[in-house]
């Protein structure tokens, strides 16, 4: 348990840094960005560390990150469901379909591209801007732009940087006994 808490804390810290930097590097506005490497922490955290990374860390660090960049309460609280979904979907898919975290072969890369990058960020991209539109932070006209920016701004770095990290990192974590193969343990 202590190990899992440590892992979660490290993930939150790392996500906070990456999320904050991503949010300020190519911003679209309202906390949405065209390049958000924090998605790596959400996707890979869920795949590697179950719900510790895929739920707690995935939902936790963006809130802190948004606070760091001076986001509104809507952004801090309202983005939690979208961020949680982005961590949960890869976590569930890899366990449900029995895919190895090393994503072997082209099938593994394709699987990660679909369940680790595309689908979570499609859902997250839909949910996040909806909160902004519903609360009047943005007009509904800006919603598609926000949604596509969210989705691709997350999915592209997650895919490009996630594939090598999963390929090289999974084995290391497995050898070190740090992988959490179930949802919680």
């Amino acid at each position: 348990m202590a190990k899992n808490i440590w892992i979660t804390a490290v993930l939150i810290a790392l996500g906070l840094v990456l999320g904050t930097l991503g949010a300020i590097s190519v911003p679209v506005g309202m906390g949405v960005t065209n390049f958000w490497p924090g998605m790596l922490v959400q996707s890979l955290g869920g795949i590697w560390f179950g719900l510790w990374g895929g739920l707690i860390a995935a939902a936790g660090f963006p809130a802190l990150s948004n606070l760091m960049i001076g986001g509104s309460l809507i952004q801090v609280i309202g983005f939690i469901p979208a961020n949680a979904v982005q961590g949960l979907i890869p976590c569930w898919a890899f366990r449900h379909f029995g895919m190895s975290s090393s994503i072997p072969g082209w099938r593994g890369i394709g699987f990660f591209g679909l369940w680790g990058c595309l689908l979570p960020n499609l859902v997250g991209g839909i949910l996040g801007p909806v909160v902004l539109a519903l609360t009047g932070e943005i007009a509904w006209d800006a919603y598609p732009t926000m949604m596509w920016s969210w989705m691709f701004g997350n999915a592209v770095p997650a895919f490009l940087l996630g594939v090598p990290l999963l390929r090289f990192g999974s084995r290391i974590l497995e050898e070190a006994g740090l992988l959490i193969k179930g949802y919680w343990r």
């Binding site: 930097l21 590097s25 960049i69 990192g169 290391i172």
Partner: protein, 527 residues
């Protein structure tokens, strides 16, 4: 339950050593340590920069692109990827090596193959060489063990199956080991044979010290030592054994034991003795035959010369008109002719006996009659030689079952011999007496030259005479006693024996079973 078994207070568990942070770090997988090293070197600066950038740009809404933030975040992730890649590159071969070694230990692999030439590859190659050498050594060892095992088995088989006696002793003659044949030969169990006291009863006392000296390592007699001694078997047989004792030495050359390999040569020695005896007998027979031929040439020539000479004188009347002289010559011719006939008859007799052509017809015989008859036959001869002949007829019915003609010839030959070898003035006695309830004996005693023990052993050999010179003087073929022996053997219950003392005389005895009841109604037995 003894006092020791009573349950006491539980022994305190040894205190587990508390694992310090240092120990934990030391025991952390190399992979993580390498990763941490890379992270410290590669990731930490980016983390610092990221934090600095976050602090610098954070706290207010971003308005435009922030290239430093973008680069720092990219750098941070890339540094993670690089750290993971490098860690994997370094520790991958180690993991491979570990798996192969585990497989080796379980026998699934035979070689270590790491396709690298760096230190890990060299380490693997060194391990592989080590393993190959060890494997070869193990193989050699296994081969040696198998060879050794085979040799041991072979030695044990030879030890137990050979028909030779094998005894292993220490340097002081104490038996350590002996093979199965020792037990087979002696009839004693092997366990008893290793016992020293038993060993003393196995070897005859007069040979014991000899054997012990041959088994004594400190004895100066060089190896291999050859010895012949006897063993007394459980049944009491004396077996003659020939041993060759070899030395067993330690690495320093000291004799630590002796192995004795022996063979039972009893039968071999017996055969050798028989052969020697047979050879001696053959030589004797050959000598006797040569003697006979020499005698015969003389014996046959002498009467023939007399016959030819006297007949020539008579035929040409070379002495003029002297009829009385010619009558004397005719008488001499007659005597010589008879003597010649006698010699020829002897030769024919023994030849017929040897060929089995003599017919023995046994019937009830009065030995007294035969004695009397023989006495009358030889009396003139004894008188001529001035030898006193005392013939005593038994005063009891000396009846036996024999061939009267053969019995008469036996007694005649014995008497003729006695008179022949008794000097003038001597005495020859012929008589019958009882040797027991059912046995009678005819004796022929003389006061002649007598015979030695050696001569007595050969006396029944054909063509043998005690004293060649005397025999020549006396004449004869040397076949008389041989004929006696053969004729006695042809008859039932008749035994002939001769005893003598040189210079005192000789006694020949013919034993016969006394016939008390009416004989069986068989008329004859033929040979």
């Amino acid at each position: 339950m003894t006092r020791d078994d009573k349950p006491g207070p539980p022994a305190p568990e040894p205190k587990a050593r508390l694992e310090t942070w240092k120990d934990r770090f030391r025991n952390t997988p190399i992979l993580l340590k390498v990763l941490l090293a890379f992270a410290l070197v590669g990731v930490f600066p980016f983390v610092v920069m990221s934090i600095v950038e976050t602090i610098r740009a954070g706290g207010h809404r971003p308005e435009g692109p922030n290239v430093p933030a973008l680069l720092v975040s990219l750098g941070l992730v890339m540094s993670f990827i690089a750290a993971a890649f490098l860690s994997s590159l370094i520790t991958g071969p180690l993991r491979q090596l570990k798996k192969q070694v585990e497989a080796l230990s379980q026998g699934a692999r035979e070689t270590l193959v790491i396709d690298r030439h760096d230190e890990i590859g060299q380490l693997a190659a060194a391990f592989d060489r080590l393993l190959r050498e060890r494997s070869e050594r193990e193989l050699d060892l296994r081969r040696s063990e198998m060879h050794l095992s085979y040799q041991k088995e072979l030695s044990e088989r030879i030890f137990d199956c050979t028909k030779a006696l094998i005894i292993v002793t220490d340097g002081h003659g104490r038996v350590l080991q002996l093979n199965r044949y020792c037990a087979e030969l002696t009839g004693y169990p092997i366990g008893e044979l290793t016992d020293e006291l038993h060993w003393q009863s196995l070897i005859p006392p007069e040979e014991y010290q000899l054997v012990m000296r041959a088994l004594d390592a400190s004895s100066p007699v060089p190896f291999p030592r050859q010895i012949e001694n006897h063993w007394i078997t459980r049944e009491g047989d004396r077996r003659l054994l020939q041993f060759i004792n070899g030395d067993i030495r330690d690495e320093d050359g000291h004799v630590i034991g002796i192995v004795a390999i022996g063979h039972d040569i009893t039968d071999q020695r017996r055969r050798e003795m028989d052969l020697i005896q047979a050879r001696n007998q053959a030589e004797l027979a050959n000598r006797a035959k040569s003697q006979f031929l020499a005698n015969m040439s003389h014996e046959l020539r002498t009467p023939l010369n007399a016959i030819i000479g006297f007949s020539d004188l008579a035929a040409h009347q070379r002495l003029g008109d002297r009829p009385e002289k010619y009558r004397e010559y005719a008488s001499d011719i007659n005597v010589a002719g008879r003597h010649l006939l006698e010699i020829i008859n002897d030769i024919l007799d023994i030849s017929k006996i040897d060929l089995g052509a003599v017919m023995i017809r046994e019937s009830e015989v009065d030995v007294g009659d035969i004695v009397e008859s023989c006495g009358r036959l030889v009396a003139p001869h004894a008188r001529d030689k001035k030898v006193a002949l005392n013939v005593t007829r038994p005063n009891w019915p000396a009846m036996c079952w024999a061939d009267d003609r053969a019995l008469k010839q036996i007694l005649f030959n014995l008497l003729t011999n006695a008179i022949k070898f008794t000097d003038t003035g001597g005495t020859v006695a012929l008589g019958v007496e009882k040797a027991g309830e059912d046995v009678g004996r005819v004796y022929v005693r003389d006061t002649g030259i007598g015979l030695t023990e050696e001569q007595l052993e050969q006396i029944f050999q054909p063509f043998w005479q005690a004293e060649s010179t005397l025999a020549r003087q006396q004449g004869g073929t040397g076949l008389g006693l041989a004929i006696v022996k053969r004729l006695a053997e042809l008859m039932t219950g008749i035994k002939v024996s001769i005893s003598s003392k040189p210079g005192i005389g000789t006694e020949a005895v013919v034993e016969f079973p006394i016939l008390k009841t009416a004989p069986h109604p068989r008329s004859a037995a033929s040979v």
